[in-house]
C-alpha cells in the first residue's frame, strides 16, 4: 500500500471522517485511516465533580475504550498522550469549574492507532464547537529495517519496523505538540521523521478544512 521505493514515495493511506454521527454527545466524529478506525465523542462544558474541579479552567477527561476487555495500561498511556495534546490546544480557561469529556472508542486497529486517536479527537472537539487556540493532527512514522521512513504504517509494517514515532503537529506553526516514540533511532532520523510528519500534517489539515467547508455548505 505504501511502499517506500528509493527516495521519496511516502504516502498516507486513504482517510476519512464523519462528524455528528451520534445524537447524544455534544460532538462526535469517526476517523478512518486505511483500516484503522476510531469513534470519538465529546461532552461538555458541563458540571464537574467537586473532587475534579479546577478553579481557573475546565477539567478535561479523556477515556479510551478498547474493543475487548477493560482499559489497561496501554490505553492509560495513550489517554495521557491525547489528553496533554488536547489540553494544549483547547482554551480551557474560558470554562472554569466545568468538565469536558472526550471518549475514544477503538473500532479497528490496523496500525497508526495513536495518530488516529488524535485526529478523531480533534475532529470531535471541532464538532462539539469547543474553543481551541489551534487545531492539531497526529502522524505516525515508522523506520523499517533498511532505514526507510514509512508514514501512516499498517499493523504489519509497525511490527517489522525498527522504530515507531507518533507526533502531534499543531496547525498554526507546524510545531510538534506531543511525541511518543518506540525503538532506537538517531537524532538525524528523528529530525527527518519530524520533517516528514510536518509535510504529512498539511494534507490532514487540508482535509479538516475541506470537511468543515463541506459540513457548513448548503449543498453537497
Amino acid at each position: 500500500m505504501m511502499e517506500v521505493c528509493g527516495s521519496s514515495n511516502v504516502t498516507l493511506r486513504e482517510f476519512g471522517s464523519e462528524q455528528s454521527l451520534l445524537s447524544r454527545p455534544d460532538g462526535s466524529a469517526s476517523f478512518i485511516q486505511g483500516n484503522t478506525s476510531v469513534l470519538a465523542a465529546a461532552y461538555g462544558p458541563a458540571e464537574v465533580k467537586v473532587s475534579k474541579e479546577i478553579y481557573d479552567r475546565a477539567t478535561l477527561e479523556v477515556l479510551i475504550q478498547p474493543k475487548v476487555g477493560l482499559p489497561g495500561v496501554r490505553e492509560r498511556a495513550q489517554e495521557q498522550c491525547v489528553r496533554e495534546t488536547c489540553e494544549a490546544s483547547l482554551l480551557l480557561s474560558l470554562h472554569p469549574r466545568s468538565s469536558l469529556t472526550l471518549i475514544l472508542q477503538l473500532i479497528h486497529d490496523d496500525g497508526s492507532l495513536l495518530s488516529c486517536f488524535l485526529n478523531a479527537a480533534c475532529v470531535a472537539l471541532m464538532d462539539a464547537g469547543l474553543p481551541m487556540s489551534r487545531l492539531f493532527c497526529g502522524v505516525t512514522c515508522a523506520i523499517d529495517a533498511d532505514g526507510q521512513i514509512i508514514t501512516d504504517p499498517t499493523a504489519a509494517q509497525e511490527k517489522e519496523s525498527r522504530a515507531l514515532m507518533t507526533f502531534a503537529i499543531d496547525a498554526t506553526e507546524r510545531r510538534v505538540m506531543m511525541s511518543s516514540t518506540r525503538g532506537s533511532f538517531s537524532v538525524h532520523e528523528l529530525q527527518q521523521c519530524i520533517a516528514v510528519s510536518q509535510k504529512a500534517s498539511e494534507k490532514i489539515f487540508q482535509f479538516y478544512r475541506d470537511s468543515v467547508r463541506r459540513r457548513y455548505s448548503k449543498t453537497l
Binding site: 527516495s7 511516502v10 478512518i32
Partner: protein, 436 residues
C-alpha cells in the same frame, strides 16, 4: 455528569400523546425503528443501529482451561459495557444497576437458552476449551438498549470465525487464518429480545420504546424468542401487574417481530459473506455514507518529501552537538550506590573489591606510603579503611594471618554506621582470597 432531566410538560405531553395512540417520532404502536446491521473489518464485529441507538458487539475467542464440573464444554462470557459515550449518565468502569440488569438479561437470552453448541468448543477435555467472549459497547443511547444489544450479540456470534485447531498427540496447534480457514461457531437458534413498555398501569403498550418513552413508562416486559416461536426468556420489570392476555398478546407480537429481525440478520450476514468472497473491501470504513454532508473521504495521498532530508540535515547541523562524554559518577557518601548514571555501577561489587584487594596487598607491603600513592577520592580511602577493619571478620578463614597483625587497633576506629557494608566487603574479599 448527570443526565438532562425530563420536564413535567414533556412528561405530560408524551403521556397524552400515547393515550391518543401517537408517538413522538410518528411510529405506530407496534413499529420498530429503522434497523441497520453493519459489520466490521474483522470477523465477529457487528454494529447495530436501531433508530439513533447504536451498539457495537465484538466477539473474541481464547483457549482456557474449562470449569471443573464441565470439563468438555466451552465457556461463554458476556460483557455489556455502558460506555459514557452513549449517555453522559453512564460512568466508565462502574457497575450500575442498569448494566447489571442488561448483562443478566443478555446472559439469560443467549447462554441459558443454549443457542450455542458449547461442546463443540472443547479442544482437549478437561484441559483446553474455547472461551467465547462477547463485548457489547453502547455507542449511543436512544432507548431500547437491550434489543439492540441482543441483536448485535447474536449477529456477531454468527459472524465470528474461530481459528482452526489441530491436535497431534499432546500438541495443540492453533492455525492462523492464513494457514487454515477459520471455523464458524455452531449456532442452534437465534434468540432475539423484544421489549414492550407499558404506560398507565398497563393500559397502553408500545414496542421498541425510545429514550424519552423509557423515561415515562411504568413497566417493561422483555421477551426473548427465536424464529421457531420458542420463548427463551421473559422478564417483567418496573413492578406492574400484567394480565395473562397482555402477556399472550406481547408474545404474539414478539413472534412476528423476531421473524422479521431474523430475516434481516440472515440477509445482512449473506451480503457480508458475498462481499468478502468477492474480495472487495468491507467493514466499517466502507459503510461510511458518502452522500452525507458531514462525511468526507480522501484517497490515498502521497506526501512530498523532497526537501525533507535537507531540512533534517539543516536542523541537525544547527543544533549544538550533544555532550559526548558521560559525567563520571560521584559518590557523595560512602555506602551510597548509584546505578544508571553514566551506565556505571557504583555499588561495591567484584571489580572494585579486586582493586581494593590489590590495594590491601599493597598495604601489606608498605602501608606507610598509602596516602602518597593513592590520588583517588576520599571516599575510596574511607572504604579502604572500612575494609581494613573488615579484615578482622575474615581472620577465621584467611590463610594470610599477617593481615591481622598489621592493623590490630582498626576494629575500634571502624565507623559503626557503615557496619553492614564493611561486613559485606569483608565477606567478598574473603571469598577472593580463598580463590587465590
Amino acid at each position: 455528569m448527570k443526565d438532562t432531566p425530563l420536564s413535567n410538560c414533556e412528561r405530560d405531553f408524551l403521556l397524552k400523546a400515547i393515550e391518543e395512540k401517537k408517538r413522538l417520532d410518528g411510529r405506530q404502536t407496534y413499529d420498530y425503528r429503522k434497523m441497520k446491521i453493519t459489520f466490521g473489518t474483522d470477523f465477529g464485529c457487528c454494529f447495530v443501529d436501531l433508530g439513533k441507538t447504536r451498539v457495537m458487539a465484538q466477539v473474541s475467542g481464547e483457549l482456557v482451561t474449562p470449569k471443573e464440573n464441565r470439563p468438555n464444554e466451552g465457556i461463554m462470557f458476556f460483557n455489556i459495557e455502558l460506555s459514557p459515550m452513549a449517555s453522559p449518565a453512564f460512568e466508565a468502569g462502574r457497575q450500575s444497576e442498569l448494566s447489571v440488569k442488561l448483562n443478566r438479561q443478555l446472559e439469560r437470552c443467549l447462554r441459558n437458552s443454549k443457542c450455542l453448541d458449547t461442546e463443540s468448543l472443547c479442544v482437549v477435555s478437561g484441559e483446553k476449551v474455547w472461551q467465547i467472549r462477547v463485548d457489547v459497547h453502547m455507542l449511543n443511547h436512544d432507548g431500547n438498549l437491550m434489543d439492540a444489544a441482543s441483536i448485535a450479540a447474536i449477529t456477531a456470534l454468527c459472524h465470528y470465525r474461530r481459528p482452526d485447531v489441530g491436535i497431534q498427540g499432546d500438541d495443540v496447534t492453533v492455525y492462523s487464518p492464513e494457514e487454515r480457514d477459520p471455523i464458524p461457531l455452531s449456532i442452534y437458534h437465534m434468540p432475539i429480545s423484544v421489549s414492550f413498555s407499558f404506560f398507565q398501569q398497563g393500559t397502553y403498550l408500545l414496542v421498541d420504546p425510545c429514550e424519552r418513552e423509557e423515561r415515562v413508562m411504568d413497566g417493561l416486559l422483555m421477551i426473548a424468542m427465536n424464529k421457531h416461536r420458542e420463548i427463551c426468556s421473559i422478564q417483567s420489570s418496573g413492578g406492574i401487574m400484567l394480565l395473562k392476555e397482555q402477556v399472550m398478546r406481547c408474545s404474539k407480537i414478539a413472534s412476528v417481530k423476531v421473524s422479521e429481525i431474523t430475516e434481516l440478520i440472515s440477509k445482512a450476514l449473506e451480503n457480508d459473506k458475498k462481499a468478502r468472497k468477492a474480495g472487495g473491501k468491507c467493514g466499517f470504513a466502507e459503510s461510511m455514507p458518502q452522500e452525507r454532508i458531514t462525511a468526507l473521504k480522501m484517497d490515498e495521498t502521497p506526501v512530498e518529501m523532497t526537501d525533507v532530508t535537507n531540512r533534517a540535515n539543516d536542523i541537525v547541523q544547527k543544533a549544538e552537538a550533544p555532550p559526548q562524554t558521560v559525567p563520571s559518577p560521584l559518590v557523595p557518601v560512602p555506602g551510597v550506590g548509584q546505578v544508571g548514571q553514566g551506565l556505571h555501577n557504583t555499588w561495591g561489587l567484584e571489580e572494585e573489591d579486586e582493586e581494593e584487594e590489590d590495594d590491601e596487598e599493597e598495604e601489606e607491603n608498605d602501608n606507610s606510603c598509602e596516602e602518597q600513592e593513592e590520588t583517588k577520592m576520599e571516599e575510596e580511602q574511607h572504604e579502604k579503611e572500612e575494609s581494613g577493619g573488615g579484615d578482622v571478620v575474615e581472620i577465621s578463614d584467611s590463610e594470610e594471618e599477617e593481615v591481622v597483625i598489621l592493623h590490630p587497633e582498626k576494629p575500634d576506629n571502624a565507623p559503626t554506621n557503615t557496619g553492614s557494608s564493611s561486613y559485606q566487603r569483608g565477606a567478598a574479599t574473603s571469598k577472593k582470597k580463598q580463590k587465590k
